[in-house]
Amino acid sequence: MNKTVNPNELKPADDVGPLYAARKKVYPQSVSGTFRRIKWGLMAICLGVYYFLPFVRWNRGLGAPSQAVLIDLPNSRFYFFFIELWPQEVYYFTGLLIVAAVALFLMNSVGGRIWCGYLCPQTVWTDVFYAVERLIEGDRRERMKKDKSSDPLKLERISEIVLKHSIWLMIAWWTGGAWVLYFNDAPTLVKELVTFQGPMIAYIWIGILTATTYVLAGYMREQVCTYMCPWPRIQAALTDEWALNVTYRYDRGEKRTSVKKAAELRALGEQVGDCVDCYQCVAVCPTGIDIRNGPQMECIQCGLCIDACDNVMAKIGRPKRLIGYDNDINIHRRQEGKPPIYRIVRPRTVVYSAIIAGIGGFMIYMLATRSLLDVNVLHDRNPVAVKLSDGSIRNAYTVRLLNKSGYDRAIAIDVEGPVNPTMHVVGADSVTPDRPIIVIPRDSTSELRLLVTAPAENNPEKSIPVRFHVMDIGLGVAASATDNFVAP
């Protein structure tokens, strides 16, 4: 029983507990197995994409950037292979973010913290840094011994430390370097950077990201996941009883005992668990927890304890997956002698998939059918209408034409609404006065002042809707915008 304290009896001195706790450094041991191989593979893909994508070229024609993925901030353009987005099209990113969020929910309801364990940059870079650390300073035990040792530093140890931090910094620097390449033409910027002619802002960003990578992956590590990241908390609220999480199957594991004792007890026909209390699952854990205590907030579900335990089970001749992707329902079913059931398809996974498919499909449809020619119209506010000397009515509009294609366009403007309208574009003497033809350069916008005049006769006294049709006279591509034609 817990000792209970009546709050009224508490003295001020009772509140003096430790305000903070020192971090227990984690020394994850190397491990091999299925999940380790998956992690190596995903790490190679993620880092490969991140480091090398800026160098992928994509031909967009003369005068346009030839980088496949480029965020061109000065010119307000985002290039992604065959897609070019303008600032007013950022809603595609909204869709992308919704899909990304729901994809995280889906991962979570299928296999728990797949994102945290395999794909999160914090996990991937920490994994790389641990690999470097192991390569240079040795595995878990050696590193623990070296850290604990109070011997004076020898040259060998110093060189180890220097080498480790140098490699860490190189990786961190490359990480920051790759980041800035997404914002500039990569080969050009690399040339400028190595000859110290790059823009100062590039060096500053490389510096910032080198520092964050080095600190977060080299020092903060699991502390980021436990204390800084909100996602573990959110995921705890998202999971359900059917989600598969990295689970210690206590129905099989308990009671824990030694290999020898287990054999003896089994020979006597007694119930005994498969867990031999070897602590291998704890030794390999990058967050330093014991998975056998059940689901924990700190667990990023990287699956390395599964590999560690499988290796041990193989050695002692017991079935693998004492730790595996499972849930409480199946543990209870096995305890009751029933076969486990796995329910990947259930309402929430169906709904998540439907949302992803729906929004993804909608975005692709919008992207595929979007017009590379657009027009916006704004009616003059002051004055809204002008009466001319012959009594006719004139309205002025600010018309913005957007040519998102990679070639110049000749645009004809037609107006529909008022009876017998005439048009004039200020500053442009069109060869066809009643149907102004304007040339818009490739990948740009033109703002025009368009005057529409109509005789007072046959036109209503107040306001009538007006529609502007713009058409590429070469290709027939058209767009339109509506506004009003107002009488004074």
């Binding site: 209970t4 009772d14 002008v386 009466k387 001319l388 000397s389």
Partner: protein
């Protein structure tokens, strides 16, 4: 200090703070040390701000910080840069002819932008922010011009004004035919109705058109022309169109003929630099009525 380790929560196996409320205990979860240190560092960092940047209000000023940083000075630098950039462009504007400005989209955009702001500062009080004018102040959007609507004519009017007192100003005014005793009241009524009839407006019962035409030919045609089409040399408005500076109703016309009209447009030469006046001329011309 209470030894919390002795008070262990049976469910989580963690120690508690020993505090209990309605049977619920608070687990002892100390903050990570690095977190606490970072928190204190942010406080130290904040003190750094006090020292480096302007921070503390004093009675009539404020602490200036170590490096004398001032956001106002930053703005001044930005504005100076902007003036420099604009300066080069305004030189180009001043050098180009009015017709060339309208043909060059970049110069046209600059002139329109510049003209619009200058118009708002200097012209809007009379002509309105949208240049739509008011009674006695011409609407600059329409195609009816007292002194001419070509680029050069508009520029001339802005430069020297009308009846402004400037040596080169537009002269000519509507005489006070009634006040000065040139026309009798009944003659004024007749000619006012005649003027209305020129624009196809209704006339008073019993109006003698022949008499009106005679009075008009003797007194008005000198400036307004035989057909009442006006004369931009003299600023005499066209009386046959649909646009009336003071109003087309009989009472207003009688007032105009009796009292005369002589609205003043100030001269802007000397008050605005030549490039700005050019920009304004282009702006007014581009409003839609320019010839």
């Amino acid at each position: 200090m209470t030894d919390h380790s002795s008070d262990i929560d049976s469910v989580s196996g963690k120690s508690t703070t020993g505090h209990e409320w309605d049977g619920i205990k608070e687990l002892n979860t100390p903050l990570p040390r690095w977190w606490v240190i970072t928190f204190y560092l942010t406080i130290v960092w904040a003190i750094g701000y006090w020292v480096v940047y302007p921070a503390w209000p004093l009675i009539s000023s404020n602490t200036t910080g170590m490096f004398g940083y001032s956001s106002r000075a930053d703005v001044a630098v930005e504005l100076a840069n902007l003036e420099k950039i604009r300066g080069d462009k305004m030189v180009a504007l001043g050098a180009a002819s009015l017709a060339d400005i309208e043909k060059d989209p970049a110069l046209l955009a600059l002139a329109r932008a510049k003209g619009k702001t200058v118009f708002g500062d200097n012209c809007a009080p009379c002509h309105g922010s949208g240049a739509a004018g008011a009674k006695g102040y011409p609407n600059l959007n329409d195609d009816d011009w007292l002194w001419g609507g070509t680029l050069d004519q508009i520029m001339q009017t802005i430069q020297f004004g009308a009846r402004s007192g400037h040596a080169k100003t537009h002269e000519g005014q509507m005489l006070a035919f009634g006040k000065d005793g040139v026309l009798k009241p009944d003659e004024i009524v007749t000619v006012a109705n005649y003027v209305r009839s020129l624009s196809g407006l209704s006339t008073r019962n019993g109006f003698d058109a022949a008499k009106g035409a005679k009075i008009f030919a003797e007194n008005c045609a000198a400036c307004h022309g035989d057909a009442g089409k006006g004369n931009q040399e003299l600023g005499a408005p066209n009386l046959t169109d649909k646009i009336w500076l003071y109003g087309s109703d009989e009472a207003t016309l009688i007032e105009t003929i009796s009292q005369g009209r002589a609205g003043v447009m100030p001269a802007w030469e000397g008050r605005l630099d030549p490039a700005t006046i050019k920009a304004m001329a282009v702006y007014v011309h581009s409003l839609g009525g320019g010839k």
